[in-house]
Structures are given as C-alpha cells and as structure tokens.
Amino acid sequence: MIFEIEIDGTVRSVSVQPIGDAGAAGGLFQIRIVGPGVGSEGARDPFLVDARPTELGLSLAYPDTGRSVDVAITPRPAGEQLLQLPHVDVRAVLDGRRLRRDGADGGAGTGEQRVAAPMPGRILRVMVERGQEVIARQPLLVMEAMKMENEIRALRAGRVKDISVAAGHSVESGRLLLIIE
C-alpha cells in the first residue's frame, strides 16, 4: 500500500509492504519513502521495520540500525494523525485530506486557514481586521475558556479574508472564527 503523508508542509509518499507473516499482530515491513530524504534509515531504499501494536500505538524497531522507538498514534478528523514520540509530538496528515478539510486550525501547510474555536468560550478581543496581513503565530483574537484568557494565533502568514465573530460573542467548539487566505 502507498500513503501520501504530509508532515510540516512536506508531502512524501510512503509504501508499506508486509514481509513473511506480517499481519494483524504486526511484523516485518519493507518501507520505501519517495520525497525529501530523512532519518538514519531514510538513506537506504527500501529499508525494513519491525512494527508491533502496543497499548499506545506502535513499537518500531529497525533491524538495519537497531533503532527502537515507541510511537503513540491518535487519528483525528480529516486524516490528521497525532504522533507522540518519546520526546516530541508530530502531526501528520494521511493522504492529503487536510487540504480538503474545513474545520479546526486550518493546517500548517498551504491554502486557506479556516480558524475555528478549539473549545467553547467567549470572544474577548479580536485583534486583527479584515484585509490585514498577518505573520505566522501572530495573535488573532483572545477567547475566554476554561477560566483562562487564550490567544488564538495564526498558523501561517496570510491575509485575513473574513471574520465571523466579534468581542462578546459566545461560541461553540468548532465554530468558524475567521479565514486567512
């Protein structure tokens, strides 16, 4: 099987081929990555991984290098995967579905950012105006939720195309707040 996987704006194509009796309980897989080279094993093409399901996600061991890593996996809507490695969280999008998605944070790649409320709350301040250019991580608005003031920030640079809330509005989780193009 071949998957298109986007991490941090870079899309790679990853092919997975079971070896021997690999199946429901995991086993040995041959991996081929097409796209920008990455990682200790990435230099080999193809390379092997021994992958086993665990209570958290998958245990990976690479026979060629000996590397062992324990990855927790959470699928989220629209093909997004939250991968929690021992030291760092990585977000990946499976099969490019993020580009078609219209909820939540708008993604870190390219295209329109549709900024949605991450939780129910009240809009305290809107800090940008329609048509304004914003840079990555610029605060867009402030929401009060969970007894705290929370800044909602831009994920990427862009221009504010539309704002659909104003200070004082109460919003549900997932409610579209503004669009950056």
Binding site: I7, V16, P53, E55, G57, V69, D89
Partner: protein, 508 residues
C-alpha cells in the same frame, strides 16, 4: 493514634488530582472517603477511588463544586464528619468554612475568620506588618468598584512605577495587571476589575510596587490547635507563566541558610499572629539583594505541597486531617526545615505549548506513566477519561526527587520522555525544552523569566529530529496498513475512535 480513627469519614469537596490526594491520605489513616462529582466527572478517578460518591449537579462549577448547600447536605447525608476543601473552588471561602462549622462538621483548614482575614489582600498585609514582616510597598486600603480613577492614579504615584494592579480577592494571576507607566494605569484597572468581578464577584483592587526580577519563594507551615507552628524548608516557584506557577522545587537553588531561617521565622510569626491552624503557605518575593517581602498567605493546601513532602518525608495531607481532629504536631522542627535531596514538580496540563498554551481538553486515549526511582505521579486522569472543558486542565503533577538538584534535573529529563498522554496535546514538550535551558540548569531565573522568553519565542519548543520525522512517517504508514487490515481497529490507541464517538454522542 486515637481509637476513633476508623469511625472518621471525610467528604472531599473537590475533584481531580487533589481529591485523589486527599482520598489517599484518608485511606492511609483508615478514614472513610466521600467524593462528590458534577455531570462530566461521573467517571473521574476521584469518584472511582472513593468509598462513596454523590452527584452534585451540572458541570459548570457554580452548579456543582461551588454549591455550598449541596456539599453540606451530602456531608450530613453520608455521615461525614470532616470536610476537606482541597485547593481552588471553595478552599479559601470563609462562608463555606463557616457553613461547615454551623452544620456541626469539621472544616479541614483554619477558622473561618482567619480565612477571611488572610484572604483579603490588604488585611493580610496588615497582619504581616503587625507580625514585623516586611511587605512590598503598596496601598493599604482597597479601592472598591466606585473609586474614581484619579484617586487611584494619585495613590499609584506614591507607590511608584512599575507597579501591579491586584484584585483583593484574586489569586493565581487572575485580576492582576502589571503597569509600567502612568498612562497604562487606566486600562489595567479596568481589566483587573472586570476579571476579578467575573471570577470572584468582587472587583475591589489595590496597588503594589513591582519588584525587578524578583523570585517567588514560599514557606509551607503546619499549625496545630495547641499552639505549635511548624515552618518548613522553602519552595521556589519562580517559573511562572502569567503569574501561574509552572514548575516548583524545594529547596530553592539560591537561598542562603540564614535567609531560609529568617523567612521561616517570619512565616511562623504571621501564622502565630492570627492563631492559624492547619496547613498554610506564606508567599514571599525575594529581591536580588536577598531581602524578602510578604506577598500573601494561602490558607489551604497548595498544588505544589508534594515537593515539600518529597524532601522532608512529612505527609502534609495526613497532618491536615490529624490537626483537624485535634492531634498535636509531633514533627521535629529540624526535620521540617532540613531538606534531604532536591525535588522538582512539573504541572502537566492539557494545553498546547506551541499554540500559546491553548487548552486542549479531550479524550485521553491511553496513558503511560513513568516509574522507577525518585518519581511521584499525582494524576487526576485515567485512560479513556474525557478531560472536561469546565475546569482547569491539569492532568498530573509530576514530581521527581534526586540527591542533588543536578540529579533531579537528570531524572526529570528521563521521566518527561517516559510520560505519554495519548490523544491530547500537553505541556510535556514545553518541560522537555525547559530542562535543557542553561538558566534553568543553574537556577538563574525570576518570576518574569518565562514570560520574557514566551513573548519573543515563535518556534515550537521541541523540534522533531530527522529520525523523529522518519519514525512519524513509518508509524503513520504502518498504522494505515494495519488499519486497512483491521488489526488496529479494536483496541490499542488507534481503534477506540468509534467507541469514543459513540460515547460522546450519548453524553450530549
């Protein structure tokens, strides 16, 4: 041990990790435990761990954990004789304490009038002055909602800039604003009043000089009903974000022994001055000259009490309960004041540090808790629990102990990598970054350290290495393959999605 212990039953008027902490102390003392819960907390850990559990009301705190009438009713119905308020919610509410007393219950904490006295920021400062403890220069009388700005501005000029506008009823950074220049005063007063009014129903404020790069250092104490006041080795809580403590440790990496003694003595004087009983904490600011100033008193157990327990071996919650029952403190003063090794606590929240610490509540799909030597995990969340949006999002207090501060940091680095909270973003990556900061390693930081960094920082706290990215690609692809072959579709972390969906839907 009094013979009556096995007949004691304690209602815990709180939720989450602190309710669990109190339940654990009760169990070790053979006391019965009564939990309370709101709608969204029905399957929370504290409910599952208690002997009895009673429903309080809908999820918003005002309809549940803040309902004094319901709590008293449940205490009486269940036959509880003690009420432990934990921290937050009603822990520093003298009306609640008084209602307990009136209902014939023992409130685990000081007398209601002491809560009121020390809970008012200005009256607490007066107590400190009377106890001959220095305070940060500021206004003595509160400004109520009707005080004209001009009057406040005049007082501000006397206190001097930079200063802080603080809510009298405030705490945890709420209702507090820093003001660098006179022209910013009006805005800060308005915001502080509105925040305090919304959060505490009291918009009275006061002004206080803002010290330059001070450290937040506090003294835990226990006081029994027989006149014994026992101060403890200090806690260092200078790593704060917007006035909220993020990391606490004991002992402080910088405090001179004579300052520790002076601070402990000052704390004990404040407690003695008001006839304090139970566990409490006196917070101080330490300036770069080594001078310290009384900041406020917390008339309850602190979130960070565990670091003190780790370096002294004294169980503060057990002592709270024993003092409430009238027992005498039998701890040697030297044991409380002499730290053994070093302890550090990290508050792990369901917040995304890379999005400005935005709360990220939701379903915890799986948990992997660190083990081995020198680690204590006080969590309030189990796997499959949906972290509610109604309260703070604390998942766990992770505490490490080491023979030295350096050992404790090495251990902290290890356990942060072991800890996995699957399904939600947490502050773990932030702490993984923090433990590698040179300023943290040498202990050179003040209360503004973190906010200064966060103000300018734009990249993620931890960047994936090339190997991390490869692992993420491989895991995503193999999980996709296994899912297509149904291997992960029922169990482990991957396959629970549909069940969780069903669960959430049916909760609506």
């Amino acid at each position: 041990m009094p013979a009556s212990r096995s007949a004691v039953k304690v209602l815990i008027a709180n939720r989450g990790e602190i309710a669990l902490r109190v339940i654990r102390a009760c169990r070790e003392l053979s006391f019965g435990t009564v939990a309370v819960y709101s709608d969204c907390d029905r399957s929370a850990l504290h409910v599952r761990a208690a002997d009895e559990a009673y429903h309080l009301g809908p999820s918003p705190a005002v309809d549940s954990y803040l309902r004094i009438d319901k709590l008293i009713e449940i205490a009486i119905r269940s036959g509880a004789t003690l009420v432990h308020p934990g921290y937050g919610f009603l822990a520093e509410n003298d009306t609640f304490a008084a209602a307990c007393v009136e209902a014939g219950l023992t409130f685990v904490g000081p007398d209601p009038h002491v809560i009121a006295l020390m809970g008012g920021k200005t009256s607490a400062r007066e107590v400190a002055v009377a106890a001959d403890v220095p305070i940060v220069p500021g206004t003595r009388e509160p400004f109520d909602a009707g005080t004209p700005l001009a009057e406040i501005a005049a007082a501000a000029a006397v206190v001097g800039y930079p200063l802080l506008v603080k809510a009298v009823a405030g705490g945890g950074g709420k209702g507090m604003r820093a003001v660098a220049r006179a022209e910013d005063l009006a805005d800060a007063v308005t915001t502080a009043r509105s925040e305090a009014g919304a959060a505490f129903g009291d918009s009275a404020i006061y002004l206080e000089r803002r010290l330059i790069e001070p450290r937040h250092i506090e003294i835990q104490l226990l006081a029994d009903r027989h006149g014994t006041v026992l101060p403890f080795v200090e806690r260092e809580c200078s790593i704060q974000r917007r006035h909220q403590k993020v990391v606490e440790e004991s002992p402080s990496p910088v405090l001179a022994p004579e300052t520790r003694e002076a601070m402990a003595a000052a704390a004990a004087r404040v407690a003695a001055q008001v006839g304090y009983t139970g566990a409490g904490t006196i917070e101080f600011l330490l300036d770069d000259s080594g001078a310290f100033y009384f900041l406020e008193m917390n008339t309850r157990l602190q979130v960070e009490h565990a670091v003190t327990e780790m370096v002294t071996g004294i169980d503060l919650v057990q002592w709270q309960l024993r003092i409430a029952l009238g027992e005498r403190l039998t701890v040697a003063p030297g044991q409380a004041l002499t730290p053994r090794g070093h302890a550090i606590e990290c508050r792990i929240y369901a917040e995304d540090p890379d999005r400005g610490f935005l709360p990220s509540p939701g379903l915890v799909r799986a948990l992997s808790v660190p083990g081995g030597p020198g680690v204590r995990d006080d969590r309030g969340v189990a796997a499959c629990f949906d972290i509610p949006t109604f309260y703070d999002s604390l998942i766990s207090k992770l505490i490490v102990w080491g023979e030295t501060r350096e050992d404790a940091i090495s251990r902290l680095r290890r356990v942060l990598d072991e800890y996995r909270v699957v399904g939600v973003s947490t502050t773990l990556p932030f702490f993984r970054w923090l433990v590698d900061q040179p300023a943290f390693a040498v202990g050179r930081f003040s209360t503004t350290y973190l906010d200064d960094i966060l103000a300018t920082r734009s990249e993620p706290f931890v960047l994936p290495t090339n190997d991390d990215t490869l692992d993420a690609l491989v895991a995503t692809a193999v999980a996709g393959w296994l899912r297509a072959h149904r291997a992960l579709s029922a169990g482990g972390s991957v396959g629970r999605a549909w069940r969780d969906t069903g669960r959430r839907e049916s909760l609506r």
